[in-house]
């Protein structure tokens, strides 16, 4: 079926979670979009970014202190996701922050300002590391519901992530 059933709640998220979605990255007048598969196993993660036909697929694997990315025959290595993003020209994405933003949490590494909706208590905005992150929609009404769409913007760069399916390790 099209949607993989009701989406889990944030409170059910243990150390192991994953999602599939679609991300658009943009600068002032150009954009590209790609599929995203993110698997988190405690501190270890695997992220796959691929075009509509699976082309240009990039696989990023990592754990604290060691991250590798493979795309085609090229391989990059770095000590962290942000270091990796510095090395790979077209990967200007705050992936380390996104690991938390996708769950409507601030990145623990730096100061953040959080705004919540009065009625639901859901996070509406996170301002952190020069980025403005907004949450236009969630899966459900409760304060611990998981985001369905995340927009993030800094200077002339912006991104939009639609999470199509959340999976928690039950």
């Amino acid at each position: 079926c099209a949607n993989f059933g009701p989406q889990p709640d944030g409170s059910e998220l243990t150390e192991h979670w994953s999602f599939t979605g679609k991300m658009a990255v943009r600068n002032t007048n150009e954009a590209s979009s790609f599929n995203v598969e993110w698997q988190q196993m405690a501190q270890a993660f695997e992220i796959e970014l691929s075009g509509p036909l699976g082309q240009g697929a990039a696989q990023i694997k990592g754990q604290p202190g060691f991250v590798t990315m493979q795309r085609g025959n090229d391989v990059w290595q770095a000590g962290s996701l942000s270091e990796l993003a510095d090395q790979v020209a077209d990967l200007q994405l705050p992936l380390d922050h996104l690991q938390y933003w996708v769950r409507a949490k601030p990145f623990p590494g730096s100061r953040a300002e959080l705004l919540r909706a009065e009625d639901s208590g859901q996070v509406t905005t996170i301002r952190q590391s020069g980025w403005e992150v907004t949450y236009p929609s969630y899966y459900g009404e409760g304060a611990t519901a998981l985001p369905r769409r995340i927009d993030f913007e800094r200077d002339d760069r912006s991104g939009r992530l639609v999470i199509r399916n959340w999976m928690t390790e039950s």
């Binding site: 099209a2 990255v25 150009e30 979009s33 691929s50 036909l53 082309q55 493979q70 769409r149 639609v162």
Partner: protein
């Protein structure tokens, strides 16, 4: 070989229009299929096509012969680019413009008989997006396109309900982004 390329181009260019339903699956080596999508496609040569994915998530890839639009409704985003830049030789481009997309950038091998014929394409430049592409024809009708990329993933597109030479209203290839859609050039 050269003759095989010509036969493939002749098969693809045989009729002015083509419509079909398709399913598409991408899977890694040995893994189960990661995601199966379904949709409908229309082609009017040269260079006009509409590749409409309906399930599980909607996406529209539409070319009016000059501009190629990619519209993702759930992202509320549409990107556009000149069709000529569509260098990745997507299946839609190959079906819509075999003469130019299947030029000498590929070595072509043919196998099979009239009932079932397979054409295997090997790109000559090594940073091509696909390192192998196979087109299958059954009784002269396109049945399948299989793409292997350099991460060992295979994308299989299967066609059904194939119709050729049907009347297609050119307006089907004109795309206007719905209100509220963010519009960008393709990066």
């Amino acid at each position: 070989d050269e003759a095989a390329r010509e036969r493939l181009i002749d098969r693809l260019a045989a009729t002015a229009t083509l419509t079909a339903d398709f399913t598409q699956e991408t899977y890694g080596d040995g893994e189960l299929s990661q995601e199966k999508s379904e949709g409908h496609m229309k082609v009017a040569r040269p260079l006009k096509f509409a590749w409409l994915v309906n399930q599980p998530y909607e996406q529209q890839v539409i070319s009016d012969g000059e501009t190629l639009w990619v519209y993702d409704p759930d992202l509320e985003q549409a990107t556009y680019q000149p069709v000529g830049d569509q260098i990745q030789r997507s299946p839609a481009m190959i079906l819509a413009q075999p003469e130019s997309t299947l030029n000498n950038d590929y070595d072509v091998m043919e196998a099979g008989d009239d009932a079932l014929t397979a054409y295997r394409l090997f790109p000559t430049d090594e940073d091509a997006v696909f390192n192998q592409m196979t087109l299958m024809f059954e009784q002269g009708e396109i049945r399948e396109i299989r793409l292997k990329d350099n991460l060992g993933q295979t994308t299989l597109i299967t066609f059904s309900n194939v119709k050729t030479g049907v009347e297609i209203d050119p307006a089907e290839f004109d795309f206007t982004p719905p209100p509220g859609t963010d519009v960008f050039e393709q990066m």
